[in-house]
């Protein structure tokens, strides 16, 4: 049974060596050493021919057992070493995930653009078109066509930059009303539009006045439009801009191109109507002017005011931005200080 002993010794030795193998290469060398064509198990088996026929199958079986055992151990240890190697590699690859990321520089839209687009999107959703007018207007469209004839006392309400006696920088977006009313074909459906843009007033710039600012005009003309429709529309607008819980309040006012005319207040979003500094203790903040389109305005555009009627409204995105974000100097919007502009990168 010398052979058997030898096999057992070989197995023990090989087991020992394989388990101590440090890396995959060593494991491969050991495989060749023991199980290769010229390996120790093979060469040991070569001595089988000297064995008796009785012994041969026994030893043969034993030798196969040794070979199988070694194969298993080799693959086990190989798996283990592979895993160790991967773990080592991953450990080496570890980085400080708290280091800063590579910067991507992006700019941001001006806060005024954000406010205007928000309002545009609300009205687009309700089927309005966006119509833009020109910033240089004629006296005729800026004033007369919105029911403000020469020498009308209400012209005092707006100080104007004139270019010539006939040409001026528009003082409001309202001339767009007259221009679209002339063009609109009512057989193709109602007129529903908003018109955002820059307007100009002869004002000295200070914290609350700017010679250039923005307005958004709205106009709906159709058969059967009521003041209740105006109220409902403005309620939606106020809630969109200042929060779902907002209420609005209409106060009588005067604009030459609407009648009735109203100023619209929104319940204060800072104090919810209890009274604070923002709403000057009244609980209400004035946000826009509106009214039912004056029949003269329609008639001047050749529209039958007995058949058609509607409403108009106008608001100042500058003022809305000031209220919404607590900006207390309108000049900030036109100074373009990065430190100011960047604050509005975050939406909402």
């Amino acid at each position: 049974m010398e052979m058997e002993k030898k096999l057992a010794t070989l197995l023990e030795k090989a087991k020992q060596e394989i388990s101590e193998a440090k890396d995959l290469k060593e494991i491969e060398n050991l495989r060749i050493k023991y199980l290769g064509k010229k390996g120790e198990v093979t060469s040991l088996l070569k001595g089988m021919k000297d064995l008796s026929p009785k012994e041969r199958p026994v030893i043969g079986k034993k030798a196969n057992e040794v070979r199988d055992a070694l194969t298993v151990i080799l693959s086990e240890v190989k798996g283990k070493r592979e895993k160790e190697k991967l773990e080592k590699q991953l450990a080496e690859e570890t980085i400080d995930v708290t280091l800063p990321g590579k910067s991507i520089t992006t700019g941001q839209p001006h806060v005024m653009t954000q406010i205007i687009e928000e309002i545009e999107d609300l009205f687009l959703g309700m089927g309005y078109q966006i119509i833009e007018g020109t910033e240089v207007e004629t006296d005729y469209y800026n004033f007369e066509r919105v029911n403000l004839p020469q020498n009308h006392p209400a012209r005092d309400m707006q100080d104007t930059f004139y270019i010539t006696s006939e040409l001026l920088l528009r003082t409001h977006t309202s001339p767009v009303q007259a221009r679209i009313l002339e063009k609109h074909d009512f057989t193709k459906g109602p007129l529903k539009m908003i018109s955002p843009g820059k307007v100009y007033r002869r004002d000295t710039d200070d914290a609350t006045h700017s010679h250039q600012f923005h307005q958004i005009e709205g106009l709906v003309i159709d058969e059967n439009i009521t003041m209740a429709d105006l109220k409902g529309t403005l309620e939606l607008l106020a809630q969109k801009m200042f929060g779902k819980e907002r209420e609005i309040r209409l106060r009588p006012s005067y604009f030459p191109f609407t009648e009735p005319s109203v100023e619209v207040d929104v319940s204060c979003f800072k104090c919810a109507g209890k009274g604070c500094r923002v709403c000057k203790q009244t609980g209400w903040i004035e946000i826009l002017g509106a009214g039912m389109t004056h029949p003269h305005v329609l008639e001047m555009s050749g529209i039958d005011s007995n058949k058609y009627g509607g409403f108009a409204f106008g608001m100042g995105p500058d003022r809305i931005a000031m209220l919404k974000y607590g900006v207390n100097d309108i000049r900030n919007f036109y100074l373009n200080d990065q430190r100011f502009l960047e604050q509005f990168k975050r939406k909402g």
């Binding site: 687009e117 020109t134 910033e135 059967n224 106060r251 009588p252 005067y254 009735p260 039912m292």
Partner: protein, 805 residues
């Protein structure tokens, strides 16, 4: 318009209504309230005192030691510095503990060894402004009437026990520029009918106005109503306390009985009046006419006014004695020596008054009322009331009769409309009775049929003429906040952005993604800045009458404003700034009435594109940063194939070697380049790159629908080519030769290396391109590619003498 609640309660029962609540109701039904000032409760310990003694203090040139009886156990000792304090006067005394509106707290004290246990006050010290205090009391303490009760609160004497409501009256509601008008308005709110005291004039039957004056009007359109009364045997003096108090508290300075009465009547009726010193007229005639050219008048304020045909004047039949409705003449104004007054009440054409007031810059309470219109029904009543008051206060007599021209008679207006029309306009379901009640509150009579009502509007509401006016009255009386809330029930058409609007939004988002922040600059700028950077020749559009040099001309380019923004930020420690702006520029066109108004897109970038950090080195912006942004944007807009760049040195503000014109369809549509280094230095900027594009044309084009091209199924082949050419050869020229000679299968050409320096001759450059060949229908054969590639090489050699490497 400042409304005294006490005065208002002469017409209406306001008991039990808090002034603040009243103000709220006024705001919600018709007229915006600017402010409510409540009775001055903090001044309760300000009392009537009588000066018993007033001794000059030996060591002072103006102080007096006084003893003043204030109804306490003993008279109080007060040191007083007022020059007009005298024994026997009734004065205003603030006792210790009072805090005056100017913040001064009255305490017991000693001045130069004399006890001073209170203060004798001027009106200014109680909060009245200098401009309303009677001239006599301007420099000292205010003297109360002799019958003022010692020890009683002084507040009722000077009107500080009253509340005042400041109304902000819109131009259409000039009817509320009078106490009676406000009376009607508040009456409507409270459902009360205001009552006004009846006016009766006691005339001297023996003496007729014809003995004094006759009036005529040249053009009745200018002055449809002109009336005059004469009051004689007058003694003009200071007005009584009640009148002074009413005027001062609503912001008018008391002068004398005549002027005060005209102001008082104007406040009560909204009817401006003018009083002439009859004797100074030196004529028995008044003629109202347009001024002649070169005529002039010295007005009350001692200014000589040059007049013209636009001005309406009151003449004595010869020369002007007053600017109608605007200001009286200096020579005929009432003085303390006046004995006979000719008192005018008229209706002047509003536009004439407006023009005169505007051109002479003379706006007054009177002119603004004429401009906005007045109640034609109370012209004579106001005149009568004023005449009687002047006579009463100056112990004179009103001469019998009124001299007048009266081309129009006050008339009620009737407006008829259907109840359906009201409900249709407001979205309400009002029934006839409700509407009638609302009109009744306004004092408007109504006649109704089943479906329509006719409203009779009195002359006091001259703003109402058409259906819409009545609907407005119904709405505000009913309450806007009781209206239902609905949305228009019209046919639903989807709203959408126009292609141009959509492309502008996409452009904005793209620029922001590319690292540029949006700015909005002023369109009005200096003349010089308006022109700078513009590709357009000529002068900017300028304002007729600018407010300042800073804002006098309309920009012709966006770049000046953008650079100002960049400079502003760089000056505040911002090393890197990238901005874009999209907005209008204005180009004058002498052939057109209006300037061209074009939408431009511009960008300005300075500093680094990537700032140095722990991983990367700093990368500064350069020409190719700006160009790269534009190239990608042209792809987004779908016009990259149609764009080319041409080097230019034609623009002074740009670097002559680093600027390109952007060409689209054979037109220059923009510029991209470096700000001229000298200009950059002026602004303290490092290398700064700019672009500006006229986007109107680019964004307005109709685009073909995008058709998907199948992803290629067959593999492509690539070749690299490197060669040396003259430095001056442009990349664009090489590309066009390659495209023309590269064969059908050449799909993309990419420059991957550009080298000058060692191993390359001076004035030469080495360029290396990667070429990709592809046939969408089949696998390319190697020999086909080689053949095409060789052709391309030959073309390069022939055209540019390229030395293939």
């Amino acid at each position: 318009m400042r409304v005294s609640v006490k005065w208002l309660s002469e017409y209406l029962d306001l008991s039990g209504i808090k002034p603040v609540d009243l103000a709220d109701q006024i705001t919600l039904t018709g007229i915006e309230v600017d402010d409510v000032s409540l009775p001055a409760v903090t001044l309760e310990k300000v009392v009537v005192g009588e000066v018993l003694t007033a001794e000059k203090m030996p060591d002072s040139d103006h102080l007096k030691a006084t003893m003043v009886e204030v109804g306490e156990e003993e008279p109080v000792s007060i040191v007083c510095g007022a020059p007009n304090v005298k024994v026997g006067q009734k004065v205003i005394v603030a006792l210790p503990g009072v805090k005056l509106p100017n913040g001064l707290k009255i305490k017991k004290s000693k001045l130069r060894g004399v006890k001073s246990n209170g203060m004798i006050c001027s009106l200014q010290e109680l909060g009245f402004s200098d401009s309303v205090v009677p001239k006599k009391a301007e420099e000292g303490i205010y003297i109360l009437p002799e019958d003022a009760k010692i020890g009683h609160s002084v507040l009722p004497y000077i009107g500080l026990d009253d509340a005042y409501i400041e109304l902000d009256i819109t131009p259409n509601r000039a009817d509320a520029l009078s106490m009676r008008g406000v009376g009607y308005e508040v009456g409507a709110i409270l459902s009360q009918k205001p009552s006004f005291p009846e006016v009766t004039v006691t005339e001297d039957k023996e003496d007729k106005v014809e003995n004094y004056i006759s009036v005529s009007v040249e053009d009745e359109k200018d002055a449809p109503v002109y009336k005059m009364r004469v009051i004689k045997n007058l003694k003009v003096n200071e007005s009584p306390m009640w009148l002074q108090r009413k005027l001062m508290n609503v912001g008018i300075r008391p002068i004398d009985t005549v002027v005060d009465v005209t102001n008082y009547i104007m406040l009560e009726y909204g009817q401006p009046l003018h009083a002439f010193d009859y004797d100074a007229l030196e004529s028995k005639r008044i003629d109202v006419r347009r001024a002649h050219k070169n005529e002039s008048l010295v007005t009350l304020d001692d200014q000589t006014r040059k007049l013209n045909q636009d001005n309406l004047v009151i003449t004595n039949g010869g020369v002007p004695v007053a600017l109608a409705g605007v200001m009286g003449g200096l020579n005929t104004h009432v003085t303390e020596d006046t004995q006979t007054v000719a008192l005018e009440a008229a209706l002047f054409e509003s536009s004439v008054i407006r023009k005169t007031a505007q051109s002479l810059n003379l706006r007054s309470e009177s002119s603004s009322r004429f401009e906005k219109g007045l109640n034609t029904a109370t012209i004579e009543e106001a005149l009568d009331h004023a005449a009687q008051l002047i006579a009463d206060l100056g112990s004179g007599q009103v001469v019998s009769g009124v001299a007048k021209v009266e081309a129009i008679q006050p008339k009620d207006k009737k407006v008829t409309l259907a109840i359906d029309k009201i409900n249709q306009a407001l979205g309400t379901e009002l029934v006839m009775d409700e509407v009638v009640q609302l009109m009744d509150r306004l004092g408007f009579e109504t006649e109704t049929s089943t479906l329509t009502l006719t409203v009779t509007v009195p002359p006091r509401r001259w703003d109402i003429a058409i259906e819409a006016d009545i609907i407005e009255e119904v709405a505000r009386m009913y309450g806007y906040n009781r209206l239902p809330s609905t949305l228009p029930k019209s046919e639903s058409i989807p709203g959408e952005l126009t292609p141009k609007q959509r492309r502008i939004r996409e452009t904005q988002r793209f620029m922001e993604g590319a690292g540029l922040s949006q700015t909005i600059s002023y369109a009005l700028t200096t003349n010089e800045k308006a022109k700078a950077f513009s590709r357009h020749e000529g002068e900017p559009v300028s304002l007729d009458w600018p407010m300042s040099e800073e804002h006098q001309a309309l920009r012709m380019s966006l770049l000046s404003g953008l650079l100002d923004n960049v400079q502003y930020n760089v000056a505040r420690q911002r090393k890197s700034v990238s901005f874009y702006e999209i907005g209008r520029v204005f180009h004058a066109d002498s052939n057109k009435k209006r300037p061209d108004e074009l939408t431009h897109l511009a960008g300005a970038m300075t500093g680094s594109r990537i700032e140095a950090n722990w991983q990367e080195n700093e990368q500064n912006v350069d020409f190719y940063t700006a160009k790269g942004i534009l190239e990608e944007w042209f792809i987004l807009m779908g016009i990259e194939e149609e764009i080319s760049y041409a080097p230019t040195s034609a623009y002074e503000a740009f670097h002559p070697g680093r600027t390109a014109e952007i060409i689209w369809k054979n037109n220059v549509v923009g510029l991209v380049g470096q700000l001229h280094p000298l200009l950059a230095e002026e602004r303290d900027l490092k290398e700064t790159y700019l672009f500006e594009i006229d986007v109107d044309a680019l964004l307005d084009v109709e685009k073909d629908t995008l058709i998907h091209v199948p992803t290629p199924k067959y593999p492509g082949t690539s070749r690299d080519i490197a060669f040396v050419v003259d430095e001056a050869v442009l990349n664009d020229s090489i590309l066009s030769v390659m495209k023309q000679n590269g064969g059908k299968a050449l799909k993309t050409i990419k420059l991957f290396d550009l080298y000058q320096g060692q191993n390359i001759e001076d004035n030469k450059k080495s360029m290396a391109y990667n070429l990709v060949y592809q046939n969408p229908e089949a696998t390319l054969k190697e020999e086909e590619v080689t053949k095409d590639f060789e052709m391309l090489k030959t073309a390069l050699v022939e055209t540019f003498h390229a030395e293939i490497r």
